[in-house]
Each structure stands twice: as structure tokens, then as C-alpha cells.
């Protein structure tokens, strides 16, 4: 049963195990620095489907099935799946997993969904309510552009702070027992908003949320950044990462520069792949954590990773109405 430590952190004494995980992506993700880490790369971003939305659902389903297979399980064995994505009403997820016949808890955490789903799967497994839970998320560049920005063939210019929505999905299977990395503690974040309105600069909008969650976690657990092999943010990109380091210094006098990494800066080659400030989208941290990070934890190359998924909670309507961008970050302490 989870034990509250400090104000916001929940320690999971049974240390739920991530017994299997999988990441799938498309051609651009396959060509990035983490290309070889993916379990499957779809050379065609349509995945053979008629619409971009169906393609995203196919990615999601593929990741879930592969993660379960890696855990040696079938969909019918899972007690619950926690999942979500960026599309309206989270159809990327629901249409993808509708045939899998699993109890489903739909989540919206924007790009923080991987950390939110892992956290909830961890808490529920630790409590004994679930024996096996799945945490998953997806995003697709084309379906996201269509919903949030301009049509694909529109001849516009992207600004240097813009990030590239990953065409990818990640899934992890969390069990009470087994072999694999552990979920040691989780922290459900608080919404932060420092007034950024530019939907083309989501890194800047999300950095304050990451800062607050990291600070809360370090304070609650009475630890310092040096005690982690990595403090991994979701998708702040180059602009947001720089702002996070500055905020941590200015607000709390804490320097995480030595251990900080960001999934948004790892997925693509920032200079060679024309992605401006880096990657974003639920699938970005979903894929990086469920492939590269899990493998390093399993191999013992990483021992303690504080994964802080970040999400910008705006909609196309709120942006048009001139609202600022509230953001969120959830922390999950992964250990080997």
C-alpha cells in the first residue's frame, strides 16, 4: 500500500515491476539517434491505414501487444489499462485498443500521459487492486498537426521554438512481481502556469511544471540531484530544458545540469532532422522511456531514474481565445 512521504510523494513499498515494455515509431523516429532501440519501425507513416487517426491507433495497439508479449502475457490477462493520447476524446487510444477486451481507464495528461499512466498503474498494482496493469500512450505527427496546427501540405514556416510531434507509441506492463525495473515512488503533479501563450513554444510553457514536480520530489524524499543517475523530463525540447535549468537555479538554487536529460532532445537529431527545438507528443517520452530507458535500467547501466513527463494542457480553442498554457508534470522514480 502506498505511503505518503512529505506533501506530494507516494512511495510504493512493494516496488511494482515493469515486466515488459515496447516502443514503436515511424521512419523519422527510426532515422533518429534512438532508431535501433525501437521494437518496430513502420516505414510508412500511414501504417497502411486510410486515415492518420487510424494510423495512430495502429501504433498504439502495436505497442500494447508488443509490451504484453515482452512480459509473456496476453491482453486478456491484464487487469486494467491506463492510456491516453492527444486526439479529441482520446480516440487514438480507444479505437486502437477496443478489440483487446481489457478494463480501460482513459487518461488525458497531454504529453505527460506516459508518466501519469505509469504512476497510476504503479499505485494500483502496489495497492493489490491489480495484478497486472498496462500503461500506454501514443501520438502521430500528422493527426496532431491536423488537430492543433495547419494542414500538412500548407506552405508555412515553423518557428525555431516549435517542436516536432513524434509518430510513436510506448507501452509498459506493470506487475506486482516479476523481473524488470521497479516503480519505487510516484508524484502526481500540480498544474502550473507562468503565462506563456505561444502554442509554438510549449517547452517554455511546460518548464515551470517540470521544475515544481522535481523540486517537490527532491524535498519530499530529502534527496539531492546527485543521488539520481538521471532526471529525465518528457518533452521540454532545447528551449524548455534551458529554462528548466534556469528556473531550478533561480527559484531553489538547485543545479540538475549534471543529471538532466530530456526525451524531446533524445528522440531526433536536433540539427540533422529539421525538428527545431526537439520532439514532443505523448509518444515522445512514451517511446524513449519504454525502449532506451527501460533497457538501460534492466542492464544496470542506469540505476535510479526520476522520469518527469511533461504536458501542455491547452486546446486549439483555448489558444484561439488567447488563454495562457497551463501545464503539468508527473514524476515516476524508476529503479533497477
Amino acid at each position: 500500500m502506498a505511503i505518503r512521504q512529505g506533501r506530494y510523494t507516494l512511495m510504493l513499498p512493494s516496488r511494482p515491476v515493469i515486466t515488459g515494455s515496447a516502443a514503436v515509431g515511424a521512419k523519422k523516429e527510426g532515422e533518429g539517434p534512438l532508431g535501433a532501440e525501437f521494437d518496430k519501425i513502420f516505414e510508412d507513416a500511414t501504417t497502411g491505414e486510410a486515415t492518420w487517426e487510424k494510423a495512430e491507433s495502429a501504433l498504439h495497439r502495436e505497442a500494447v501487444i508488443r509490451a504484453l508479449a515482452a512480459a509473456g502475457a496476453s491482453p486478456s490477462e491484464a487487469d486494467m489499462i491506463f492510456a491516453g493520447d492527444l486526439l479529441n476524446q482520446c480516440t487514438g487510444t480507444t479505437f486502437g485498443i477496443r478489440e483487446l477486451d481489457m478494463p480501460f481507464a482513459g487518461l488525458f495528461g497531454a504529453c505527460s500521459t506516459m508518466s501519469l499512466s505509469l504512476a497510476l498503474a504503479g499505485i494500483m498494482t502496489d495497492s493489490g487492486a491489480l495484478r497486472m496493469a498496462v500503461a500506454s500512450t501514443s501520438s502521430h505527427f500528422c493527426s496532431a498537426e491536423k488537430q492543433f496546427r495547419m494542414p500538412l501540405e500548407y506552405g508555412g514556416q515553423r518557428c525555431p521554438t516549435a517542436q516536432w510531434t513524434a509518430t510513436a507509441a510506448g507501452a509498459a506492463v506493470v506487475e506486482a512481481q516479476g523481473d524488470g525495473p521497479h516503480i519505487e515512488a510516484v508524484l502526481i503533479g500540480r498544474i502550473q502556469d507562468l503565462g506563456i501563450k505561444d502554442a509554438n513554444n510549449m517547452g517554455a510553457a511546460m518548464a515551470p511544471a517540470a521544475c515544481s514536480t522535481i523540486i517537490d520530489f527532491l524535498r519530499d524524499t530529502n534527496t539531492s540531484p546527485e543521488e539520481y543517475d538521471m532526471i529525465l523530463t518528457g518533452d521540454l525540447g532545447s528551449v524548455g530544458s534551458q529554462l528548466l535549468l534556469e528556473l531550478m537555479q533561480k527559484q531553489e538554487g538547485v543545479d540538475i545540469g549534471g543529471v538532466h536529460a530530456d526525451c524531446g532532445m533524445m528522440l531526433y537529431d536536433l540539427n540533422g532532422q529539421d525538428v527545431h527545438a526537439g520532439a514532443s507528443g505523448c509518444g515522445c517520452s512514451g517511446a524513449v522511456v519504454c525502449s532506451y530507458i527501460m533497457r538501460r535500467l534492466k542492464a544496470g547501466e542506469l540505476k535510479r531514474v526520476l522520469f518527469v513527463g511533461t504536458g501542455a494542457l491547452m486546446s486549439p480553442v483555448s489558444s484561439l481565445q488567447g488563454e495562457s498554457i497551463p501545464s503539468i508534470a508527473h514524476g515516476v522514480l524508476l529503479t533497477n
Partner: protein, 146 residues
């Protein structure tokens, strides 16, 4: 110490890399100029083919629009426009692209509420405010020249 929205805004502006404005302007000027030169060339060509002046004035933009529509459909236009920015948006090519691109994108939502309704998503405001400006201009002209 907590940071105010104003202070953070300053930090965010400082952290944001600037657009390469000089280079963008040069590329926009060259591509925009090339499109205008192409228009001029078409004008001369149609004239030489014996089309009368009214015909030429209609045929030149039509040719540029069709050309843009084809380049958009083949996924080439956005690759050029990524570099040239206003150089391709400002001439009639930009207008044509902004109609064809959403028409293609929303095909999956059907011919009526997809392609039909979304086609003028970007170009619609140009038509609304363009015609409104024409009305205002017409009124001023009518009042002052009467």
C-alpha cells in the same frame, strides 16, 4: 524565490532562438521575385500566342493557381514554402496552396463536411476581409469622385 509571469516571459524570450530573419528575407525576395518573373513570362507568352488583354489577365493567375495546386498535391509546394516563407505566401500561389492543402487534408471527413467545409479554413478570412476592404475602398471612391 518565486518568479512572476513578467520575469518568466523575459526569461522565455531570451531562451528562444531568433528566426534567421536576414536569410529568410533574402530567400523570400528571390523566390517571390522568381514567381513574379514567371507571371511576367506567362503574360508575354500568352500575348505572343494572340490572346487578347483580358484573356491574358485571366490566364496568368489561372496558370499559377493550377501549377500551385499540382505542386501542393504532389507534396512539393510546402517544401519550397518552408524556405521561401512570404515569397510563396504573398503571391497568388499562397492563396491557391491554402485552399488545396486543407481540401486534401480533410478528405477523410467526407466531401461535404470534410473537403467542402474545411477548404476555406485558411483562405476564408482572406476572402471575407478582402471583399470587405473592397467595399470600403469602393465607398471612399464613390464619395470622393462623385
Amino acid at each position: 524565490m518565486s518568479i512572476t509571469d513578467k520575469e518568466y516571459d523575459k526569461m522565455a524570450k531570451k531562451a528562444a532562438p531568433p528566426s534567421p530573419k536576414g536569410l529568410n528575407m533574402i530567400k523570400a525576395f528571390l523566390v517571390g521575385g522568381a514567381i513574379c518573373a514567371l507571371g511576367e513570362g506567362l503574360y508575354k507568352l500568352f500575348e505572343r500566342l494572340g490572346v487578347n488583354e483580358d484573356g491574358v489577365r485571366a490566364l496568368v493567375p489561372i496558370t499559377l493557381i493550377v501549377l500551385t495546386a499540382i505542386l501542393t498535391a504532389f507534396g512539393v509546394f510546402d517544401k519550397i514554402a518552408k524556405h521561401s516563407g512570404a515569397g510563396t505566401i504573398v503571391p497568388i500561389t499562397g492563396f491557391a496552396n491554402s485552399v488545396v492543402a486543407p481540401a486534401m487534408e480533410f478528405q477523410s471527413e467526407g466531401r461535404i463536411l470534410g473537403t467542402g467545409a474545411e477548404m476555406f479554413k485558411i483562405a476564408g478570412p482572406v476572402i471575407v476581409y478582402g471583399s470587405s476592404a473592397a467595399v470600403v475602398y469602393g465607398l471612399i471612391y464613390w464619395i470622393t469622385q462623385r
